[in-house]
Subunit: 228 residues, 2 copies
């Protein structure tokens, strides 16, 4: 799926999480990166609506991802300015785009964001304006991709995050296990080397077996309760 990742971060060069994400997406042909704080011009208008519209159209973007650090429970001002400048229900990209995803990095622990926790509200609650935006534009709102305290993560946790992030940006979001397996198979098949071939095959076999079991189980359930 053609995806544009719009990034707003005042110091992207020294941000370890943003550099990590950029490295993860390197070479992905279906992905266009648009780094706001670079596109932003010193003089008003900081963004040109026509330029941004063109970028969205020419990239064929179907999934729009807004990626930013959370500042005072919202996106940075530059990201908001981009939204204020570009968004329009009647723009040609409005119908082309189908999904909106949010990648948000946070310096605060995950457990702080809940009723009774230090920050009182969940990230889903704090990002509600983006959900409302997706609703207004007629786009599907993807579950938020939250990254808490990236710098404190172990190497192992970062490796897991890399796969999850790549899936978030590039995978179809059907939320089924089959869908995740298919994504892994496709990825493994596109890699060079016998070991990747083996991995793809192994996932495929596993998947076939599971689906056969599911079919039997479903037939048995029907015989017990009828088809409901």
């Amino acid at each position: 799926m053609k995806t544009m990742v719009v990034i707003s971060h005042p110091t992207i060069q020294t941000s370890s999480s943003q550099q990590f994400f950029l490295a993860t997406l390197k070479g992905e042909e279906a992905i266009t990166i648009r780094y706001m704080d670079e596109v932003w011009s010193e003089r008003k208008p900081h963004f040109t609506r026509a330029t941004e519209e063109k970028a969205l159209l020419e990239s064929g973007t179907k999934r729009l991802i807004l990626q930013f650090p959370m500042y005072w429970y919202q996106a940075p001002a530059v990201m908001k300015e981009w939204i204020d400048t570009v968004m329009s229900k009647s723009a040609p990209f409005a119908k082309q785009i189908k999904e909106l995803g949010i990648v948000v990095t946070l310096g605060v622990k995950e457990e702080a964001f809940r009723a009774g926790g230090k920050e009182q509200f969940t990230i889903s609650e704090l990002m509600r304006p983006f959900q409302a935006l997706a609703n207004a534009m007629g786009w599907k709102y993807l579950p938020i991709f939250e990254v808490h305290q990236f710098d404190y993560k172990t190497e192992e946790a970062k490796q897991a995050l890399l796969v999850e992030y790549l899936q978030y940006v590039t995978k179809e979001h059907h939320g089924t296990l089959k869908n995740a397996e298919d994504w892994f198979i496709e990825r493994a098949q596109s890699m060079k080397g016998a070991e990747w071939e083996q991995i793809a095959e192994w996932i495929k076999e596993n998947q076939d077996e599971r689906m056969e079991l599911e079919m039997h189980l479903s037939a048995w359930e029907e015989s017990q309760y009828g088809d409901y």
Copy 2:
């Protein structure tokens, strides 16, 4: 209570609601108006932290009101930039300020903002980031002052809005009827003319009578159920 009203609106001169609010606050000595899009400078940094801190301190602000039109379910970018530049838990104004209020103008009908309505979410939900900000700064969060479709309001509705707005900005927010009456009495007493004197007296008499009734009722309830 010393109050600062921080306004962000790209075209304040031609905004009928903003002009209406400015006229309402004219001559109020306890109120400082800070119009963001005027303070904002063309060159970076658009806001100077030191200047904004000084303005907050020297005005003795105890109640901070952020006033803006809702753009894409959030404050305009300039308001966010002010927050990003100025907010700090360790700033001297952090302890001086006690309350945070939000005045938000909207072009959409009130009934659209609810589950199942066109916009799906309430204004309280969409403004959650400001509630989280108040929580982080240790400030009391006032109920949001929502103004829907100002231009469609009748003259009568606008007059009522004027009083409500003035109360929102200047009145203590204890939420009791007595508190509202006291505010009206004080206002009426400060006006010149026999008719205002009479109004103040009338509210006072009404208040006395009500409080006496309340006392009797409370005594009767205690005699019935005990003091609980």
